[in-house]
Amino acid sequence: MTAASPVVSAEPGFGRLEPLAASFDDAVRAATGVEERDFRLAGAVVRLRSPNAAMLGRLCRAFAHLALAEPAPQPALVVNLWDAASGAAPPPLPHTTGEEPPGAFFYCSNDELRAAFRLGTSGDPRLLAIYPDAPTPALSVLEHGSRQGWYWVADAGRIPYWEQSTPLLYLLDWWLRERDMQLLHAAAVGTPAGGALLVGKGGSGKSTVALSVLGATADGAGSELLYASDDYVGVSAAGAPEVHSLYSSGKLMQDHVGRLPFLGKALANADRLAFEKAVVYVHEHWPAKVTAGFPLRAIVLPRVTPGLGTARVHRASAAEAFRALVPSTVFQMHTRGQDSLVRARRLLEQVPSYRLELGSDLESIPHAVADLLATLEGR
């Protein structure tokens, strides 16, 4: 459990599968049909399905690099997506007092399922006139055993940009844990032979390093490194650690976009940068530069270093890496406990950690990471 945000007792229906399934079935009956799309996420087939084609499209965009050309016979996980616009009765939601902030987070775990509800705001036009990015209420539910998940929002037209770029985060966190993997707050770049997790809190330079591999190098060849993530990634915990890309999206603070000018043509929200981080769906512009994953060879802690020119790498302690990776993951995922710290410690004891000092020469960043990986692979 977590005490991170307001967590209250939920009404009985909030933690039960039947009324949830009934709400989704109502929405399906009210629609002309259900659209389905299959993806291979962290080695298993995940099917997203919805009676609302626009909602499905918004939530599938970040997974497109993992899309399967043909429907799979038996997905490992089916996630049902719907919203209140269908006219179906909404699923059971937690009781609220009306005084909670829109970011209030409600969590329920029982024998059947895990459920998380973000209160959001109902869409009062007076509020939206002032707060255009106020999120819509959202419910995420995963049945234990990982066969079915549900994601409901009040208004699919108001799913915030950060959720569209990294959708179903809580569901995937729970699902990966059931599969002996962990979802980490980290970027990742590498080659088929091996790659690095880039760890650190927001603003540490993770996204800059990850997205820098998309730029041209002085010789015009470009970096050999491929892009797997800039924010959240799956990592297998059993055996040799493997990185699994979940999202092809990348997000940058608005004032950092100028440092990576090649991103300019690819911004998905260039008209909203006054309110939103810049978002890039990497596979849409650099399809050959996106990878589904690679063996994990190194943990890298980017650090912006004023006065430095060329990027350089130094060894870091496992404890330093733990501090950079684990608290930010725990606080963002909300429902982490002691077990996730143990898993992270085991990972960091297996894989060496390095500090990557970032200077003004951005072209040197992918070189520094690639050289480190080549050294570790004995190339």
Binding site: P102, F105, A134, F322, V326, F331, R336
Partner: protein, 152 residues
């Protein structure tokens, strides 16, 4: 500090030891901490002996070090007070409990040079707890206002 026993403040507090540091996360406050030096010994005794009295904890830790016991006990007592202020430890519901056998036995090994316990506090992620799951929010917990409206 009172005379009651202490315990790790679960479930609000989770922790792990790695590479000579104890990293402690306070899920309620959004702060996290790094313990070093004799802080590892203090934490290990508190964790393994829930309900142990601060005086007994200090005495147990003092036996592990090649240093005057009163010096170690003073440092440990102050450290426990700091842990309590940060709500990393809490009074044990069952009052004072016994020291775990391994906590007692640990004092019988070879004494080490004393490095005072230290607690480094990190507050840089508090916003994730206070404002999450909406990450891009201002200090009031709301998403960014439209500048033109905010200034109206």
């Amino acid at each position: 500090m009172g005379k009651g026993g202490l315990r790790v403040n679960t479930p609000h507090v989770i922790h792990e030891t790695i590479d000579g540091e104890v990293i402690v996360i306070n899920l309620a406050s959004g702060n996290y901490y790094s313990m070093r030096g004799a802080g590892l010994d203090v934490w290990e005794v508190v964790q393994s002996s829930p309900g142990a009295d601060p005086t007994a904890i200090a005495a147990t830790v003092a036996r592990r070090f090649d240093a005057p016991s009163d010096v170690v006990e003073r440092e440990v007592t102050a450290f426990l007070e700091e842990l309590r202020r940060e709500e990393l430890v809490a009074p044990a519901e069952d009052g004072v409990g016994p020291l775990a056998a391994d906590g007692e036995a640990a004092g019988e090994g070879a004494a080490r040079a004393f490095e005072p316990p230290s607690l480094e506090k990190y507050t840089d992620l508090q916003d994730l707890v206070l404002l999450d799951p909406v990450h891009e929010v201002d200090a009031t917990g709301w998403p960014h206002r439209k500048p033109d409206v905010a200034q109206a």
